[in-house]
Subunit: 558 residues, 2 copies
């Protein structure tokens, strides 16, 4: 016992606490504590229970989900321990009749007796198959229900949302998460940045998420910056050294003005614009002086084609004279398909007229309430956008703001338990289970199958019957080319057993991208996707239906 | 200067940091830092700017919004200071060409030069009227944009959502927030608990929110608790002392069984149920032994009327024998209107049959995906529910998961600034402004009016012209019975000026409830509410349109 007690402690010390310090054993529903007390009072608290964490329906009308949030769950249990202050608060929150011994019990618990088997973070997952199988003393495991659901529901939802946006935008586009200001609270924002990155986004605007997770950061300026300027007279320091340091332009402002005039009177662009907005020109010039290597301008404060784009080009050409290459423009309003095409045409005119090579390939970023539908519409209309900044719809998961993971008791003291419901989709699948993904000869996953814990695992090249858990007519024989066990041990409950490492974020992101590529395309497409099959073994099927009939009351029609 | 520097520091020290330790000056978009650098580089960083924080459209198809999140904003600015580690991270995130002097500048800044005028938290507010007016050095105020929007958008959204649920449920019902597990991340959950309470909820299941904010906690047990029991044989300790301590029932289990049999064979309830589920009966009995004073049972694990309610009544009657009063039942599935009425009928049968006074008034709590529509449908069908537990739809604001507050520059160096847009509703209202609420003779607020800062305030009993800011034909004379200035000083930027206190949460909640009661009912009703009028003074109207014409380019039709 001594060795065991020390063992996990040492392991625990290697796992950081949850990212958000507010994630503690108290981030839970009161009923977990009232139940823990009732279990304790009934001397049931150490009965060994198995709970499955799973969802019943893929979000966003799709047929796949990206699993995320596991690392934060493991961080919680690795550091699960009540402080005296927390125990005092629980005591104050429960009825006075509760016995003191319970608080001594709480004081002593940690998660060294708990086992967590889970699908690796970043995997593509499907309804009914457990994402986590949590086993341990019932009172302790019960206390994990609420924080686990909280940490996984939103994480998986937003990772899935990001993956869907990526799938529509295509691999070649840069996807930027811009949602912090509209997120549901501070770590609604921080979580969105982290899990959007897992789902395939490239960068975030959220500085704190960059600091915490090493996610690349992006951002330039807003409309306020543009309207904070009045005129070019405001610019005091006008000199700019050339990129290679060989010379200095003493009056960059005049250089910009000269370029604006050249563009205006050039043969090809003549008539496209008249007088551009001078406060905008001043803002762009000033921004370029501050960031000559990173000049990206928001061009829609006044009028994209009659002011923003010509002003941008004047500054970009002036920078070009000094050996700097402008990064591009951002459009944040209006008809993004039309404006991006017009801007692209204008950039090509500049390239042709002034012989500036690659000017036509200038980056175009688009933002403003983008979502799956607008990305799809842009694709259909044709656009010239290289990078999309997506905020509100991504981070709040506007199209479906909640995923409904549940945490159900499936076994206690080796006795399988089933939760019935008049709605068949809500009946739980009993027993401590193993879960496998069977792959076909094309390399695609064909079906996930759940079996009883002690059944022999499916074998490569060996025929196995896969049954729908509730519909007796749905079944299929499968000869897997490859069998993958889905639930891996992330928290062993004993120091002797091996534990899966928690990989760095970038690796989880790569895994997610690879997983999505591996899926048969019709499962992950946006319109009318094909449901992926989820099944149980013949033996488990029979057992479910035996238990079901045993538990369900026989109705009486009157 | 010395005195000034000390003054605010002393005041600051009295304000706690934000509730979530992740709310720091880095919880911001990268572009706030790139802009700050560009302002600094252009020697513009200390120019005095005024920004308005406001929204453009009420959420949920309604005509009102509850303002919340202010206290967290004030906590942020009272403690706004970069650590060396944060500065190092900003340096690593900006281009290498950025000058060192900027980081010294960041090191030195705090919010002692910033002024925040705001509507008090818990007020009912309307589109276009600033919720906050933030004035200060432009680079510093710019850094506040993202965290302020993050802290206010969701807070106001969920407080409004809670107020709407309260309005449909009616004053007499108990409203419980049960959303932690489905919330958008950990403080999506904690924020939901806090701001639902402000919006009129009575309690939460979220223990950490209870600890942080003193919100009343509620919770009993889940389906897992029920299915963790097999039979009454499991109950080892069967004795229960009577409520007054005068006697002890040695076998409470047998007492429960005797009552179940009496109910089953009683004249009035005969035929309603046959054999009830014994694991459920064991769970209820066990829970009652743990919480004899707080017995509330979840009755839908197997069958509400054929198992859950009879089992509950047996335990409740056994408790009654020992002087305890059961609290009631919770329904978490099925037809809540029908089941609550059937359960109520059954309770009345028990009261009548066994002469237990008030048994018919047993509490009935309902949960399961409740939202505005289902509450409304329950009201129309007729129900017997006393308390509603609302989760997902409340905390994720499922009907509209984001509020679109914006933060717009309205003045810099005493020069008014306007942000134009082809969409008139997106044109900003320029100038540093004052805002008033004008009340009519019935006591209802009639209209909010914005004026230039130096205009004389509207006076009681004096006629004033209120103009729609953008529609010249919409205007009305108002003779206010009472005039209230809306923007109050919460952060004075100088120690000499008075500052509004940050009231305790309960006081904000009371204020919100009072504010909603004070509104003319047609503004706050759910179906076809009347828009509340928001206006500008005649002088401000003229000025807006002068600036607008001045800034907008004249189109050319080709």
């Amino acid at each position: 016992m001594e060795a065991k007690a020390n063992g996990p402690k040492e392991e625990e010390s290697r796992i950081d606490p949850p990212t958000n310090p507010m994630v503690t054993p108290l981030l839970s529903d009161l009923y977990q504590f009232t139940m823990a007390y009732a279990y304790w009072k009934a001397r049931k608290h150490n009965e060994r229970a198995v709970f499955d964490l799973y969802f019943r329906k893929n979000p966003f009308g799709g047929e796949f989900t990206v699993f995320a949030g596991l690392e934060e769950c493991i961080r919680l249990i690795a550091n699960f321990k009540f402080t005296e202050e927390e125990i005092a608060f629980i005591r104050a929150s429960l009825p006075e009749t509760c016995e003191d011994g319970f608080y001594d019990y709480l004081r002593g618990i940690d998660c060294s007796d708990v086992e967590v088997y889970a699908v690796p973070e970043g995997y593509v997952v499907f309804p009914k198959v457990p994402l986590l199988r949590v086993e341990g003393p019932i009172a302790v495991v019960q206390l994990l229900e609420t924080p686990f659901l909280n940490l996984i529901n939103y994480a998986s939802l937003v990772a899935t949302n990001a993956a869907r946006h990526r799938s529509i935008a295509g691999k070649s586009k840069l996807l930027l998460e811009f949602g912090l200001r509209r997120a549901q609270g501070p770590d609604g924002g921080i979580g969105a940045s982290k899990y959007s990155y897992i789902g395939g986004f490239d960068a975030t605007s959220n500085v704190e998420a960059g600091r915490l997770f090493g996610i690349p950061l992006r951002g330039t300026h807003s409309h306020a910056f543009v309207s904070s300027f009045m005129s070019l007279d405001e610019i005091m320091e006008k000199s700019l050294q050339s990129s290679d340091g060989s010379s200095t332009c003493e009056d960059f402002v005049s250089l910009v003005q000269a370029w604006l005039s050249k563009i205006k009177w050039s043969h090809l662009s003549h008539g496209i614009f008249g007088e551009t907005n001078q406060s905008e020109l001043a803002a762009f010039t000033s921004y370029a002086l501050a960031f000559p290597n990173n000049f990206l301008a928001l061009v829609d404060t006044y009028d994209v084609m009659r002011s923003g784009v010509p002003n941008f080009c004047a500054v970009a050409l002036a920078l070009n004279d000094l050996g700097y290459k402008a990064v591009g423009i951002r459009l944040d309003s209006g008809d993004l398909a039309y404006l991006s095409c017009e801007a692209r045409k204008f950039f090509h005119i500049i390239e042709k007229e002034f012989g500036v090579s690659n000017f036509g390939k200038m980056g175009i970023t688009a933002s403003n309430d983008l979502n799956e539908e607008t990305l799809d519409a842009l694709n259909k209309q044709g656009h010239e956008v290289d990078a999309f900044g997506i905020g509100t719809n991504l981070v709040t998961c506007y199209a479906q703001p909640a995923l409904g993971c549940v945490f159900k008791l499936v076994e206690i003291n080796n006795q399988p338990r089933i939760k019935l419901s008049e709605d068949v989709s809500k009946v739980s699948i009993p027993c401590k289970k193993r879960c496998y993904r069977l792959y076909g000869k094309e390399g695609y996953p064909l079906v996930d199958i759940m079996t009883g814990e002690n059944e022999p695992p499916p074998k490569m090249a060996e025929r196995i019957l896969c049954r729908h858990p509730f519909n007796e007519s749905k079944r299929a024989y499968v000869v897997p080319r490859h069998v993958e066990e889905l639930l891996k041990c992330f928290w062993p409950g004993s120091p002797d057993k091996a534990r899966e490492e928690l990989p760095p974020l970038m690796q989880i992101r790569d895994r997610c991208i690879k997983q999505l590529q591996q899926m048969r395309p019709d499962h992950v497409r946006r319109l009318n996707p094909t449901p992926y099959k989820v099944s149980v073994s013949a033996k488990l099927y029979d057992f479910i239906h035996f238990l079901w009939l045993n538990e369900a009351p026989v109705g009486e029609l009157q």
